[in-house]
């Protein structure tokens, strides 16, 4: 930097962009209905509504930038450990964030035919926040991970 007022545009709150899924086969992307401004509580509530089981930490990996290069389009990859066989596969992956205008980011429905439980998409981030993913397995168990992504004004680089 330093800063000029243009930089604040990144923090301007506009409607979340639709997410693009690089899914395989029958991945279905559901845009979650609008709700109030996201908070850690509303994000948690939304996950509670979507997933019956209490999620345990593990099996889910979120790969994204620690600091967003462009808050308008942050690439995110979520992968879940699973053999993806008829007996043992990932049924659903839900993604929420805790500071955007709405907590819902995307839900992915998977089948064993996907072969691999990995989804990629780009999301918009209004400000620094956590991305939280929950995977629901075919046995009904749920697994979760969270990752902070920082959105900064930038500049001043040493």
């Amino acid at each position: 930097m330093t800063a000029s007022s243009q930089s604040l545009n990144r923090r301007g709150l506009s409607r979340r962009q639709a997410v693009a899924a690089l899914g395989l086969g029958s991945v279905v992307v559901t845009l979650v209905p609008l709700s109030a401004e996201a908070t850690p509580e509303s994000a948690k509530k939304m996950l509670g509504d979507l997933v019956k089981a209490a999620p345990k930490a593990g099996k889910v990996q979120i790969k994204t930038q620690e600091i967003a290069e462009n808050g308008n389009t942050v690439p995110v990859t979520i992968s879940v450990e699973s053999p993806m066989t008829d007996k043992d596969y990932v049924k659903e992956i839900h993604v929420v964030s805790d500071k955007n205008p709405q907590p819902g980011v995307a839900s992915f429905m998977l089948t064993p035919a996907n072969g691999k439980a990995e989804v990629q998409f780009r999301m918009r981030m209004a400000e620094t926040q956590n991305v939280i993913a929950v995977a629901v397995m075919s046995d009904g168990s749920a697994w979760t991970a969270a990752r902070e992504v920082k959105v900064t004004i930038g500049g001043c680089g040493g």
């Binding site: 330093t2 007022s5 290069e69 462009n70 900064t152 004004i153 500049g155 001043c156 680089g157 040493g158």
Partner: protein
Amino acid sequence: MLSRRDILQASAAAAVLLGSGMRVGAAAATQKINQADLLRFQPVGQVTLLHFTDIHAQLVPLYFREPSVNIGVGEALGLPPHLVGKYLLDQYGIKAGTPEAHALAYPDFVQLAKDYGRLGGVAHMATLIKAIRAERPNNTLLLDGGDTWQGSYTSLATKGADMVKVMEALGVDAMTAHWEFTYGAERVKELAEGMKIPFLCGNVKDNSFGDAVFDAIKMFERGGVKIAVIGQAFPYTPIANPRYMIPDWSFGIEEEKVQEHVEAARAQGAELVVLLSHNGFDVDRKLAARVKGIDVILTGHTHDAIPAPVKVGNTLLIAPGSHGKFLARLDLQVKDKRVTDYRFRLIPVFSDAIAPDPAMAKLVDEVRAPHRAVLDKVYGRADSLLYRRGNFNGTFDDLICQAMIAEREAEIALSPGFRWGATLLPGQDITGDILYSQTAITYPNVYRNQMTGEFLKTVLEDVADNLFNPDPYYQQGGDMVRVGGLAYTIDIAKPIGQRISNMTLLRTGQPIDPAKSYAVAGWASINEGTEGPPIYDLVGKYIATQKTVKIPENRSVKVVGADQRGIAG
């Protein structure tokens, strides 16, 4: 002005020893340093790695004061490089007042600078490199950690071409990058593809399909050992520097990709894996604990001069300072794909004690000759110590802020927390060479904007978190943004949004009102189309009107909640 020291520098090392009429202190001090002592090293093993980084296009010797404030947070608290002054010297058992102490730490800077002279200069470094190569002809690898093409008038005028020429002549075996990218994607490609030096950036990809833009790995063989050098560019280049200059490239720490490169290198038979990194020291310390199989990380970006390797697991981290002040030598014995022994020395490049390499000295003269009028122009004189490096305002930053407030009729000035820029001793002329060493960037325009008090606080909070976030992976920037016309208190230990308080407009002594707008001048905006005069012209003009410049230590930033070992120890 040609000083006695300049004369000494121009003559060979032999002449340094006893110039008649030399100050007693200086003579005694100079005798403590000679070229043979600087080169003394008992070799170990098959491989010698020579490393420098962040030379910032400084071709000739200079003064560079190491920070008196470099605060550690999180897991880096109390660890090098976050020890300054006596804390650093005590940690490594270095006696105050010695040449080594002067090279590494700020105490008594002005007096010791007069005693020991300037450091750096590529012709002086070339002498050391040639001598080591002569001693270890088939064992030596010379690696450059980047920030090489930016930081001087000649590099700006030639868009990095001067440095490419010099680095080729120095025989650099591979490099990585950061400020190089501020010449724009096209120019970087042009220089990288046209030069002999491999340009390694394993974490730069195109942001549509994620394809690699540059090579990641270069294999070498030295002393019968297969060595893989993996390059890691500064991960936050498109955030810390203008995105529009490299619109199609994506960076990032990319830990998983570093691991993949290590595995690929091992699969290609590498017995020694070296990460040539511009991550910054704290990032590399974290990365070393998480990525398996790296033998050596040659660190850069944060300009730290650490006199011994820092060991994380089986990985050795090397930090050789900046501006050509040091050449790091690491000898390694490699057996069964493991480092079984090593020896290290951070060699200070005391210019007065080293006979410059004639061929390199000639090349430096040739590079600078067409630009002498700019380089030698005298704008004024320093009446007090002028420096930049440190977490908060240095005196050169205060000078720049004063200039912006005066020339752009602003109430507040913001100046970037860059880590580069030469130091001037009281009594020295402020030349074009020095001025550009503090300001030579490709996005130099000084804007004047209205900013609300609330926005100013957001800026300070944002930049502070980029420096003091306890997780180094979330530290994006340089040092703290410098402020003019503004005082504030910063609590290092607090989270973002709560660190900055007591913001006060110095002009009126009144608290900053969040709702009120203030006229703010600043430079190095990362936004395209920023308008205003270039910073080097503006500051040059201001100094010329002042003639002599006397800047007291900045007292307007109050730091609390910080580890004291990182503050003026």
